[in-house]
Symmetry: D5
Subunit: 91 residues, 10 copies
């Protein structure tokens, strides 16, 4: 079951750089683990913005919320979720 | 080069049904031809709406505009294009 | 799996009244059938508006889109879907 | 008398974690007491967001404002209230 | 129980003038009956607009929806309802 | 001459509580003085929000601005003013 | 007492040209009469739009509403009114 | 003196095709005359939309309004004008 | 050449009062100098807000940007500029 | 391949002035290098705002994102990118 997820990142300026880097590293690892598992099949950078559009493939709304709320950058993100369905013209 | 394209369809009620069906059929064929060519790798229905989110993979802005403006439903669509770049965490 | 669905109805003034009534009757029957089946557990009128907020309980995004797009009033509705998850404080 | 209540939570980063946890615990207890009392029959998490949609069942606007303004997280919430009425198609 | 109600009127240009006048007359009578009954204690014109802000004093959300949906101009209005509570500084 | 005034209050978290309480007390006294004088005939709390809708009855725009800008909470408020006129259906 | 008034004009395409011209002529005369009277001291075209910003100088909200609602183009305008006060730096 | 001009075109469906084509041809000629004159140095299509962003180089606001309001498609356009100044980093 | 300029002032709470007062005094002097010079013919307070609408009369966009960016309060203002043209009905 | 880029700059007040000046100097040099290279053919100041509209001419979305994300002011900017195509009326 697919969802389009729009994530805008706002890391506060007063977060110590070391801490920010540590969170970003964990975010990257977490994201890549989910990508490898097939739960997060696509992630694209929005040109010119610290934001991404992603596709998630999950079993349920609850699973998606669990995955998103465990993102290391979750406290610094504005997230919008759009549920997707099969398009009748999709091949 | 990837773009996220959001298309909202508004077919006017006074378009004769036969004509609407003929346009939708051409739209479907046109879309599936582009999907097969690799130019339009993804199309998803937005749940509850006569709208889709799509991914286009093209050589240039001009090519994308040409493809979109030739959509049979183009006169009845509201389209927004978001340019995408490779995400540093993408595997 | 629960979704909050917001539906705003705009029946065009030039739809013949008889036809409008026939569609509304089918809408009511369709809605009540889904309510009885457990797929549409709640529907509330928004005070002062020709609109409702509803809760749907479905197996998947595709099922929800199928149910919504078969609403007799679907061509005259503006629909927004919000996926819901279990709240950690819910009893 | 039913109301749909949308709550978005923004806990400031400089609130000491201990204090934040204490507030969240009081919030949970407060919410569960109201759920048990029947005043707050539904609370759902919005997927991907630190937000919820809730249904309140109260005697009056004044009662609803009293209940909401006593939420331990009230100072950190953006709240919007939508009054609901019985839907003519509800079974 | 008080509610602030914002009503914007859009009478379609192709409504025959006679019919429009008849509806406006019924609207005026209906409004004045409710004003006399105490259910609609205030109605003010928004300067420069075909719109009003009103205060309604009703027993319940259902009663308010019934009163509003029976406005003769209801099909031609965009209505927004804001529930009001007693202000702690009100004398 | 009547105006609808919408006031949203945002007291900054780092304002010392004692100072905040002193300002709120002055606000309450100031508001009640104006209510008694007939300049501020109505003030209602917006349910679920730290906000109010008020009616002011003043001689001129300048008088209204003077009254509002002297509110003790003025520096912490977002205010919007809507001029009102007599409604032709008002009794 | 001054007000900034923003008027956007939307003349429907199916209004017969003769009728439109007659209304525009009456609008011009009406506007120039009010300008000469001092009630409408400024009117400026918004560059690139069929819209204007105007300053009105009136005795009361009721007078302003009367003046605006008698504009021959009133049924085809979207109007927003902003009350103005003397600025403390104005010379 | 430079201005960024955003033009969105909405040609009504019931405009006879011949008439629409005649207007578009005049629009093209008018635009190209202004481009050759140096008054309209840039015009770009917005990808996926029947819209353009343009740069105008004129002597005054009045001249710009005159040029824009004489566009053959002016009655079918939504136009927004942004005044531009020399950027201190421009070479 | 006329422009409508909307200025919203947000002076940060942690700006020392003395410094704020010094800036406001310079702002007032700067504004009054420009008013006397004829470059800033009108300034009005927006009722209930720390904001103003002003009319500027300048030779060019560059001159306007220079004047505005030298406002002592410029770093604490949100400014929107609307170019104005002569209205055909202006007397 | 052309893109319209809108950049709004928000330099936080607590950034030490020396550091801010150093960043602005690097921004200027970086911008002028790109202008000289032909990648950034136009940059205009928005009148009255700390913002610019720019035209970029790049090979790909990825190249544009790389150029923008390396702006020294990038962490303090809100950026929106609009892809442009050749306009059929452009000479």
């Amino acid at each position: 079951m697919l969802f389009l997820v729009h994530m805008i990142v706002n890391i506060p300026r007063d977060l110590p750089e070391e801490q920010a880097n540590e969170i970003k590293l964990r975010e990257k690892n977490y994201s890549q683990d989910l990508q490898r598992s097939g739960k997060w099949p696509h992630i694209w950078r929005v040109v010119g913005e610290y934001a991404n559009y992603s596709i998630f493939d999950v079993e349920s709304n609850d699973e998606l919320h669990t995955l998103l709320s465990q993102l290391p950058l979750f406290p610094f993100m504005e997230i919008k979720v759009t549920p997707l369905a099969k398009h009748p013209s999709a091949i």
